[in-house]
């Protein structure tokens, strides 16, 4: 049985694609056969973040419309075995993602023995975003410590609870996870930024992890290598911890507390 994980947020620019790439890579690194699908029809970007943009021949919509089969469209990831990317199409026809078509592709992936299917949702609450969450078993809600992102996350949670197949069919609800990204412990400590506990209190869903704000994310996307592969950086470690928690392990939160620099550090600088 394949587990379908939707990475969503409502608001744009909060780190959905970065998270989809890292979560999918992390699951594959743990040995699970994983596919990651870009649902952002018209604004394909996952391929760039995964570093496979020059190998795109066929896309999600080609498969849905029968112009290519899954085998032709799936791109094998360079960095992790067991990982395959299904890019979004550049077509402007948003209705190309039919519910039936999406369902068939997901079923076919499950049939091919994939353990996890990660759906990278577009921003907003329109058709593409709804299609990305319709078949979800689990949802990772990516939220920045900022008012509009928190509000939009709450909206998207409402949509998951009303429009997902699990909700409509009255099955066990979609398992929701909160992932706080672009977190700055110093600013949160100084009362300039919502803390991750504030966000969790507001949204009332279990916390999967806190990813610190970091230059490493831009370096990663510049190079087309998912951030989880930036070894030794807090961002990569925080994503690795989140993967562990997702798989049921216990990991204490890291990179969330601000330590005041000591006198020597302040005198001589350094990070």
């Amino acid at each position: 049985m394949a587990t379908i994980i939707t990475v969503t947020s409502g608001k744009g620019g909060v780190g959905k694609t970065t998270t989809s790439a890292s979560i999918a890579s992390g699951l594959a690194m743990r040995g699970y056969k994983t596919a990651v699908i870009d649902f952002d029809v018209g604004l394909r970007n996952l391929d760039l973040i995964m570093g496979c943009e020059r190998r795109v021949v066929y896309d999600f919509v080609n498969v849905i419309q029968g112009d290519a089969n899954l085998h032709q469209a799936l791109i094998k990831d360079k960095h992790a075995d067991n990982l395959f990317v299904l890019p979004a199409s550049q077509t402007r026809d948003k209705d190309a993602l039919t519910e039936e078509g999406v369902e068939n592709v997901l079923k076919e992936l499950a049939h091919q023995g994939f353990d996890y299917i990660v759906c990278d949702s577009p921003a907003g609450i329109e058709h593409g975003a709804v299609m990305a969450l319709t078949f979800a078993d689990e949802a990772i809600v990516v939220t920045n410590p900022e008012v509009s992102s928190v509000r939009d996350s709450d909206r998207i949670l409402g949509i998951i609870q009303s429009k997902s197949r699990r909700a409509i069919e009255g099955r066990e609800p979609v398992k929701e996870h909160l992932l706080v990204t672009r977190y700055a412990p110093k600013r949160a400590h100084e009362g300039e930024m919502l803390t991750y506990t504030d966000i969790q209190e507001l949204l009332r869903i279990p916390l999967l992890g806190v990813i610190p704000e970091s230059d490493a994310v831009l370096h990663a996307s510049n190079q087309g290598v998912p951030a989880i592969h930036q070894k030794g950086t807090p961002v990569a470690d925080a994503y690795l911890d989140a993967i562990g928690r997702f798989l049921g392990e216990e990991h204490p939160l890291r990179f969330v507390d601000y330590e005041k620099p000591g006198l020597i550090k302040r005198l001589f600088g350094g990070k």
């Binding site: 900022e146 008012v147 928190v150 509000r151 709450d154 909206r155 409402g158 009303s162 949160a188 100084e190 009362g191 300039e192 930024m193 919502l194 803390t195 504030d198 507001l202």
Partner: protein, 84 residues
Amino acid sequence: MSWLSLIFGEKKSTASVAKERLQLIIAHERACSSGPDFLPELQKDLVAVISKYFPVNPDDIKVGLEKQGNYEVLEVNIVLPEGR
């Protein structure tokens, strides 16, 4: 900032302002979205029934649901056409 705030009195951090605002708006929006969505249907039916007896403009019938403490109040407001 810290010694200034000692002199001029503690100023609320902007993060706590953000949290309070979010608590209010999220509670409000959850209440709205979980509310019944039969109101437009009810309004249509009322228009149909009432126009059997005299002509009304669909816009002259307003239906609303309000929460007052522990009670939910269904308010139906019908403006009768003039000259009757």
